[in-house]
Symmetry: C2
Subunit: 361 residues, 2 copies
């Protein structure tokens, strides 16, 4: 692997990423669930095409601007973020050209939409399935009925179903814990589906976070899954148990710029503006990345007992075992596996494949 890299560069292993996509598409298929992957992780039209090539035709995004970006190639997009009514112009622009699916937990927002929509949209009611971020409480039938009544008073909104995000799965560390989160969120949704399907026979249940979608083996009661991170995975997902280390499909190549033989620490070019300040805790230690060994095809195993101990804006620091400090030289590249690949990809904006091609957008 020698790609003329001179500065922090986000490498992508296309084979690993395509295998991650294929595996999830096959799993969704085998379970009779539609995969509507979340594109906030990669934010790239080119990587989006890898999904098309795996038979995926619908996407999820996290903002109206991102929907706008992907609308050049995708014609059925769900914005899985509570509708921001201030962007009604973007909603109308998008709804005129693609199938736009929105979410909300607020009847006032639906009332606003019914007065201001110029084109038809589909709308999900967002349900809190345990993450306690946004969404109506699952037992709050008054709130749900109120939203449905506003929807039924307008022709511009088609009711799509219930959507949730079981983000509490990020606290899990075993398969059993993840399966419990998956089962509980599907049970919550199942109850709603049973209550409302007489009136809305086509309503669907949309759930999806990378840990549950990667680990759970039962998707009963779920019609759609929306994982995002799995396209790259990262150290956090390894810690949760969603993937193995060799499924991580991105690494930040970072030049070494300073070596401390006193502290057994190495400073590299690669900081919070490249990796983000996202962190994880492991054995009581806060870490910001780990280092993989360089191989002929890209990167391989972890270098044992080496981790990124701190990041400032452009500096990263790794600690290495004292007897290995002589293995490193200024100008060498470190292959940093990110703690959170979505945030790293958002900052880097551009990928270089291990074969040397550059993917922008």
């Amino acid at each position: 692997l020698d790609l003329n890299i001179t500065k922090p560069t986000l490498l992508i292993d296309e084979k690993k990423s395509r295998a991650n996509i294929r595996r999830m598409a096959e799993k969704a298929n085998a379970n009779g669930v539609e995969l509507r992957p979340h594109f906030k992780t990669h934010q790239s039209l080119e990587i989006g095409r890898w999904f098309s090539q795996a038979g995926i035709s619908k996407a999820t995004v996290s903002s109206l601007d991102m929907a706008d970006f992907f609308s050049s190639e995708w014609n059925d997009i769900t914005v899985a973020f509570p509708l921001n009514i201030l962007q009604i112009e973007t909603v109308n622009k998008l709804a005129s050209k693609i199938q736009l699916n929105l979410i909300t937990d607020d009847a006032g927002t639906v009332g606003f939409l019914s007065k201001n929509l110029a084109n038809k949209i589909r709308l999900f009611i967002e349900v809190n399935v345990g993450q306690n971020r946004s969404g109506v409480e699952a037992g709050d039938y008054d709130a749900i009925d109120q939203i449905l009544s506003v929807i039924s008073a307008t022709d511009m909104i088609e009711y799509a179903g219930f959507l949730g995000h079981a983000g509490q799965s990020y606290q899990c560390r075993t398969k059993e814990e993840i399966e419990k989160v998956s089962a509980e969120s599907r049970r919550i949704m199942q109850r709603l589906k049973e209550k409302y399907r007489a009136t809305y026979p086509d309503l669907i249940i949309s759930l999806g976070d990378t840990p549950c979608c990667s680990v759970a083996e039962n998707f009963e009661g779920q019609d759609e899954m929306r994982p995002g991170n799995f396209v790259f995975y990262d150290l956090t997902q390894v810690q949760i148990g969603s993937c193995s280390l060799d499924q991580i499909a991105v690494a930040l190549a970072c030049p070494i710029v300073s070596i401390s033989y006193e502290r057994f620490e190495i400073t590299f070019h690669g900081g919070g503006v490249h990796l983000s300040k996202d962190r994880m805790e492991e054995d009581g230690q806060i870490i910001f990345g780990k280092i993989a060994k360089k191989t002929a095809e890209g990167w391989g195993d972890l270098i044992p007992n080496v981790y990124v101990k701190s990041l400032s804006q452009e500096h990263g620091i790794i600690v290495v075992p004292g007897d290995t400090i002589g293995d490193y030289r200024i100008g060498d590249l470190l292959y940093v596996l990110p703690v959170h690949s979505c945030m790293t990809a958002n900052l880097m904006r551009e990928y270089q494949t291990v074969d040397g091609s550059v993917l922008t957008n």
Copy 2:
């Protein structure tokens, strides 16, 4: 204040920012120290011009790419980051058009430069003044002599002096602690200056971090200061004691998208991709921002007992006192004061003044 804001938007209060610049320029002047501000915080040519207008003609940046960006308007730039030898082409390109000042702590890097430079540069020896990031150890005269001997063997490198960053000041919480850091780092540098000025009478001592530059009253032994964050300040600097709350010159305007009357929590559009995941601890609580009141001219005091408790990629959540939850409505804007303005500005890339003009670059 009504600026037709529809999505997360970084507001800048130009008056506050210009006052921050002016105050630091006057302080540097009064103390006979040259202000070479760090532009990594704002990364904007337009804001750079506010510095020119305050009489500043030299800049600091944190990467060669940033030096390249500012070289269109600035002709004396220090890259205060250990030289990344892989970017020698950028070094040569820049050195052909501006006065380029680099730093290193490594004799091998100087040897590489002496063989590969096409144009003259000035070089600082970076010294570890207590942050333990990069830099030679202050007492390691062998390492310093070795670097100086490689420099003296080439005509392409002019030795500039000693440069340090007392980043440990970010752990301080009182004026006394900050003054101690400032005094100690200046003492370290003073010793070096005394030892080497017979041979290098023009060597300068460059130090500079926003806490020390903002708080210290004595700059004896220091020739140059390089603070960056002070152009905007932020909640971290308020906590350290570098500034008052009303000196913070940027706020992220964020639309409210969901309100939980059960948990007294409010979800807004504004996440890690806008504010960064940088955090601070206050009274045992991790916080990611605080909310300022909207005023006719921009924003004012903090809303008491309200803080950003978590951020995901696009979602932010504030907790509010239960009896105030009725004060908030979906579609209202929250004015979030950032924990770390450098990281927020790096993500947002664009500023809107409270008068309504947009500053890109």
